[in-house]
Subunit: 367 residues, 2 copies
DNA sequence: CAGATTAATGACACCGGTTACCATAACGCG
DNA sequence: CGCGTTATGGTAACCGGTGTCATTAATCTG
């Protein structure tokens, strides 16, 4: 009389895996090797997807790994590999929302991959700025670096990273197709220019002809791009940027306020103002309110960034949105997935977000 | 004929240190040991400020370390020590400014110390939330963890961290002296209650008697504290929170808008509203504008947080400021400097920031 | 000044993985 | 069927530090 085959074998207490689990100790590669009756080298091969392992062996070992919950120690692995499993995010940027969105995007990609994100703001005005970053990258043996604007444009910094031979991506508004020599690195690019063209289009289509402009700091690539985009947008309708009603700001609320005062005190004041970011646009709100101008009745305003401010002010600000989080995710992808270490560029579109701060020019407008 | 003693010895090319520097290789502890003619263990002792090293030896080795620019590899050190030199910042919080301020504070302390900050937002609604954090902390062998509200109040999470025996600090508004059992961990506490008392004081001193209140979510410790502080502030003047003109919000702009609608549609509407954060306060702005109420002429409003929004809206919002950055710095200090691993609590004051959204009750006020 | 005690230093294994290299088994071909 | 290949697994050394413990040098004691 034969018994039926045991479909569900009784886990005997002598099962070495069960034995191991009882000890509640963090598993090492040696434990896996011992339980699977192979050498640790073979386990290592399997962890690293090395091809020359028999399928049978691979499955058996993976089963053990899963059962005892083995996860290789990143420090030990890093030491042997001579690189860590850390991504560095380097920036010198006061805009909190931008940074957090970027972090979220990066983390979208990184989560669960065993790679972690180390944030490293810096002060580009410090003398030791470059040394600090060199130390950081070299010491931590980062597996990749993400550079945010404006320091993503810093040539010296780029050179340092190239010397260190660390993979890095620059986030930038610059497509590198104007006359200054393009910077040849991996990059994630936003079409700021496109967004500004749309802003200009939108205003012109509402009947505005006299449009003030508040630029960002000339040292910022985004500022140049936005200016150029806005100029192109106007040009398409036979218009030009008028220097009389243009001012340079510092991307800050206060500088927007001052620029707004300058522009709106012009005897022939514009019926609309395009500010290169939301902070400055909100600064113009304050000027308008103080001058008794209604927005958008007397003055249309457009900003850029779609910061949380934009939707919360009254009237809600028409602005240009960039997919910051997506860009962050793509930056991480560029560093992690790109097997070939070629320079890789991705471009993201901007989108006009029409809210309540823009309206047609009043019919009987006389300044 | 004797030559004068060479005060400035010519660095002969045979100087082993010079020789070493010529090779432009990252220095290891072995290099230091060889050049200083001591064992690597002695160098290790010096790096770690071990006491039993002769002063003479220490100086000689330190000189070599400085000359060749040796810095111990954190990965190797971490492997041997069985802990990394990373601090983890764990949060589940949508407020960008808060997070960035906190990060800056932590980095103020951490910068230059060789410790780096790993950010780890998480989703407390996910099933695997606790497992993810456990993996993160265990795998990275973090040397410390900082918990931000609201998950700083999560008992299960706290238990996990205690099991892992990782040092951690909670950032919280809760002093732990009410009836629910206090959570015994290191913490950095803000006196939210105090700020709210001041807010109540301020409004009452302006003549307001009928004051609306928008609470935060009941699950947040800060919400409870703020409510309690506001209530205490009113009580000091013989007033009470009136449930008729109180609403619960979600700390968001939209929820503030809704709460404002509810409160301001009350037949006997209040002359002032205290919102438990700025987002909700700005939501009330929108309601007021839509109802044609002037702020602060018809309605005074106070918020909480002193977010960037507060100073930029019109009229600028009176609010309560918390020294977030300082708290971040203190959190890092608590983890890094505290030799004894006793539970350590630090308390920070809140401060009322009076701007333009609060004014005396109009003399002839009739609802 | 011998012997005991203490301070300073070094030898060696180890942290938990990896690579370099060698040994064996399986396979193809003339 | 012998031999060169290719697949697979093992061994030892190594990544760059630290812990343990033994050893040597310096200081103390009677």
């Amino acid at each position: 009389m034969t018994l039926p085959p045991q479909t569900q074998p009784v886990k005997s207490a002598a099962d070495p895996v069960e034995e191991f689990l009882k000890r509640r100790k963090k598993a090492t590669i040696n434990d896996v090797a011992a339980l699977a009756r192979v050498s640790k080298k073979t386990v290592s091969r399997i962890i690293n997807n090395s091809p020359s392992v028999r399928e049978e062996t691979r499955e058996a070992v993976n089963a053990i790994i899963a059962r005892i919950g083995f996860r290789p120690d990143p420090q030990a692995r890093g030491l042997a590999f001579r690189r860590s499993f850390l991504l560095g995010l380097i920036y010198d940027n006061p805009n909190a929302q931008y940074i957090v969105n970027m972090q979220m995007g990066i983390l979208d990609k990184v989560r669960g991959s065993g790679i972690e994100l180390v944030v490293h703001p810096c002060d580009k005005t410090s003398d030791s700025f470059l040394e600090e970053i060199r130390d950081f990258v070299e010491l931590q043996r980062l597996s990749g670096v993400i550079l945010l604007p404006p320091i993503a444009e810093n040539r010296q910094l780029i050179q340092v990273l190239e010397e260190l031979a660390v993979p890095f991506v620059r986030i930038t508004a610059r497509h590198g197709d104007d006359n200054s020599p393009p910077i040849k690195t991996s990059q994630v690019v936003s079409r700021d220019r496109m967004g500004c063209q749309q802003a200009a289009d939108h205003l012109v289509s509402l009947g505005h002809r006299r449009i003030g402009f508040i630029e960002g700091p000339h040292t910022y690539a985004s500022a140049k791009e936005r200016r150029q985009g806005f100029a192109e947008g106007l040009k398409a309708h036979g218009l030009d940027i008028d220097p009389e009603i243009t001012a340079e700001g510092a991307y800050s609320f206060e500088s927007g306020f001052e620029a707004g005062q300058k522009i709106l005190s012009h005897p022939d004041r514009p019926t609309a103002i395009f500010a290169s970011n939301d902070e400055m646009a909100i600064g113009v709100y304050k000027v308008a309110l103080q001058m008794g101008l209604s927005v958008p009745g007397d003055l249309s305003i457009i900003g850029f960034d779609d910061s949380p401010l934009a939707a919360r002010v009254y009237p809600a600000l028409t602005t240009v949105r960039l997919p910051i989080r997506d860009m962050g995710r793509m930056a991480a992808e560029t560093l992690i997935d790109q097997e070939d270490h070629r320079k890789h560029t991705t471009v993201f579109d901007a989108a006009l977000v029409v809210r309540d701060s823009t309206a047609p020019v009043p019919k009987n407008f006389k300044p």
